[in-house]
């Protein structure tokens, strides 16, 4: 077994990584405690931007959790041999990201001590309440799926569990997109396209996270990923990036078609300062076009280029979510169409938002928790993808 052959230096490195992740998670928890004691006045949020940087982290992790499971689905449900050995890692990452994302989401509540109320009092018309069910269900199904993969006697049920996970993750990401899609009064949201957009974004973000983790694991073990496998996964990431860019463009073009939304689009795409910069520079160029070049240009496409492209996709995801979540809230609500308005409550003004340190630390704490779960999980159970090279080289 791999674990019995480890050197003392390797064990030390493992514990150093675990301690590092624990420290980051602990700092995140301390930040959340500060936010709960001092109130959300300790954050940059206000009555305009009610969901700040923690939501950017949380939604990234939750959407990626759904997308990362794609790797398992392609293997188990669609029978692709390259992806099959990666299914357990895909499931573990899904659980870890889900846990990290939910940790941030729950600790950013005004009353995190009442989190159980969300489970005991469910309003059936609330998309948030649906998501409580969807997230817990997702964790249960993926845990079951992992069991069917690891327990030999349960192997025959693996495909069925994989199919259930596939269906559930589509519903889950639809639910996440719908959190925003149902906000009828907000110019930035209120679009049925947001559900499919989140699904497509999840494909790219999840695969990018998977590729970063996989490359790190192979580097740690001093092994090389088979070039054929690497090329296939890189190509798939490229397709997901292109599809995401296309759907994002469609959402904005749809908005631009409606006169009532032109002002918001002008703000977010041209006049809004940081937001257009993050959209075009962060998401489109760094998180979209550059990764496509790195993945498809004949001069690149190798292991390092794929890693860089994946890391850039993650960076672009944060940029896009920041623009989507924060930019969508700073733009003033149009309560009096056709009027200029002003008040002591920020009406008619573009709101300002500067994320505070506790917010950032809470977000990073969630990433730390996901990282910790992944690191420990990979060590305790055998999640390292074992490729049958003869079977995949010409696949």
């Amino acid at each position: 077994m791999r674990s019995t052959l480890r050197s003392p230096a390797d064990a030390l490195n493992f514990w150093l990584v675990v301690v590092g992740a624990l420290v980051v998670t602990g700092i995140g928890l301390a930040a959340a405690h500060h936010m709960e004691s001092a109130g959300h006045a300790a954050t940059g949020m206000g009555h305009e931007v009610v969901w700040g940087l923690p939501h950017v982290f949380a939604i990234f992790m939750i959407v990626s959790a759904s997308g990362v499971l794609n790797v398992a689905s392609i293997g188990s449900v669609f029978g692709q041999p390259v992806y099959k050995p990666r299914a357990p890692l895909s499931g573990l990452l899904c659980l870890a990201l889900l846990a990290g994302g939910l940790m941030v989401l729950m600790l950013d509540l005004g009353r995190p001590d009442r989190v159980l109320v969300a489970a005991t009092h469910i309003n059936p018309t609330s998309v948030f309440a649906w998501n409580v069910v969807l997230y817990s269900g997702m964790a249960a199904i993926v845990a079951l799926y992992l069991w069917t993969m690891f327990e030999r006697r349960m192997n025959p049920y693996s495909r069925a569990a994989g199919l259930a996970a596939l269906v559930w993750r589509f519903v889950l990401t639809t639910g996440t997109g719908s959190i925003f899609a149902f906000l009828a009064a907000r110019q930035a949201y209120a679009s049925a396209l947001l559900a499919p957009l989140f699904i497509v974004l999840s494909f790219g973000w999840g695969l990018a996270v998977f590729l970063v983790v996989q490359a790190t694991m192979f580097a740690w073990e001093g092994e090389r990923l088979d070039p054929a496998v690497q090329r296939r996964m890189a190509r798939l990431l490229g397709i997901f990036i292109a599809a995401s860019l296309y759907l994002v463009a469609v959402v904005h073009l749809t908005h631009l078609y409606h006169a009532k939304q032109v002002a918001f689009e002008a703000f977010i795409l041209r006049d809004g300062g940081t937001y257009p910069l993050l959209f075009w520079g962060g998401y489109v160029v760094l998180g979209g076009l550059l990764p496509l070049v790195l993945l498809f240009h004949p001069s690149f496409g190798g292991e390092r280029s794929t890693f860089a492209a994946s890391a850039l996709v993650v960076l672009g995801a944060f940029a896009w979510l920041y623009v989507f979540i924060i930019g969508g809230q700073v733009f003033p609500l149009e309560i009096f169409p056709g009027h200029q308005v002003s008040s002591s409550f920020g009406d008619g003004q573009v709101a300002s938002y500067s994320p505070s340190l506790p917010e950032l630390l809470l977000g990073l704490g969630g990433v730390g928790a996901a990282f910790l779960l992944t690191t420990v999980g990979v060590r305790v159970l055998d999640f390292m993808p074992q490729d049958d090279f003869a079977g995949v080289k010409h696949g």
């Binding site: 949020m45 906000l183 409550f345 009406d347």
Partner: protein, 267 residues
């Protein structure tokens, strides 16, 4: 055995007895927001009118009534904030000094882009018949009473702020700082969302039947403007009903069809 003069420790029998008695009228509180027994969720809105131990139980919110406001923007004086101050005093809200301070009601100055016509008007919770805040609230903390008043149950609010995202009127405030000097009729709490209650404590105390009004409407009348009128929109004989029938009023963001209970004249 308990000795006289020392605080007695409740026996199990006494606890169970109290629990049973509580269960008959409400719920047993296990932890903040967690109730072991909950009877008739619909009765929750009556809690405001319960008036504490020994009080005679008042009938619940009257479903035949639709409380609302009519705001005549032609009478609303620019610069006057008497309604805002009265609301703050009535509910123990702090004077807004920081950007995070709550504002249940605010004055908005408006100017038509095409004609340049200017005006001034107060905006508060519009007490919609189809409130988006109630639809999105995951725990049911945001609720609409049978008489149309939209409220937040402070025991169920987890502070997710989804209602603030959903409200088309920016009518809700999140309590960002610890609260002090609370009024018994307006319980508040850090980490929860709150908004105009349409002075529900006055409604439940029966003040409205005697011609009473909300704090904001009262202050506006006292200031001599008479721009805010409170009343029952369902009662054909009420002044508010007569006026909305006679003069064309509008509601904010009528396109959203959330059917606000606050109507505006002269917009």
């Amino acid at each position: 055995m308990n000795t006289p003069g020392t605080p007695s420790r409740p026996s199990r029998r006494a606890f169970l007895g109290a629990a049973a008695a509580t269960g008959a009228t409400g719920a047993v509180l296990l932890a903040p927001g967690i109730q072991l027994v909950e009877v008739a969720q619909a009765a929750a809105p009556n809690a405001a009118s319960a008036g504490g131990p020994g009080a005679t139980a008042l009938p619940g919110a009257n479903p035949r009534v639709r409380w609302g406001l009519l705001i005549d923007t032609t009478k609303c004086a620019p610069g006057c904030t008497d309604c805002v101050s009265a609301c703050r005093t009535e509910h123990g809200l702090p004077e807004p000094k920081r950007r995070t301070d709550v504002q249940w009601i605010r004055k908005i100055e408006i100017k038509a882009i095409d004609t340049g016509r200017q005006g001034s008007l107060p905006v508060m919770c519009q007490h919609c018949a189809k409130p988006p805040c109630v639809d999105v609230c995951p725990t049911g903390a945001s609720f609409k009473r049978a008489d149309g008043v939209v409220l937040v149950d402070r025991h169920l609010c987890i502070g997710c702020r989804y209602c603030m995202m959903a409200c088309p009127y920016k009518a809700r405030s999140f309590v960002h700082e610890p609260v002090t000097d609370q009024k018994p009729d307006a319980p508040r709490g850090m980490g929860c969302v709150e908004s105009c209650t349409l002075c529900v404590h006055r409604i439940d105390a029966g003040h409205m039947a005697g011609g009473g009004s909300t704090a904001c409407a009262e202050a506006c009348t006292k200031a001599g403007h008479g721009a805010i009128l409170f009343g029952d929109l369902n009662d054909p004989h009420s002044e508010i009903s007569r006026r909305v029938k006679e003069i064309r009023s509008t509601v904010l963001r009528a396109d959203l069809r959330v059917e606000p209970g606050v109507h505006y004249l002269g917009l």
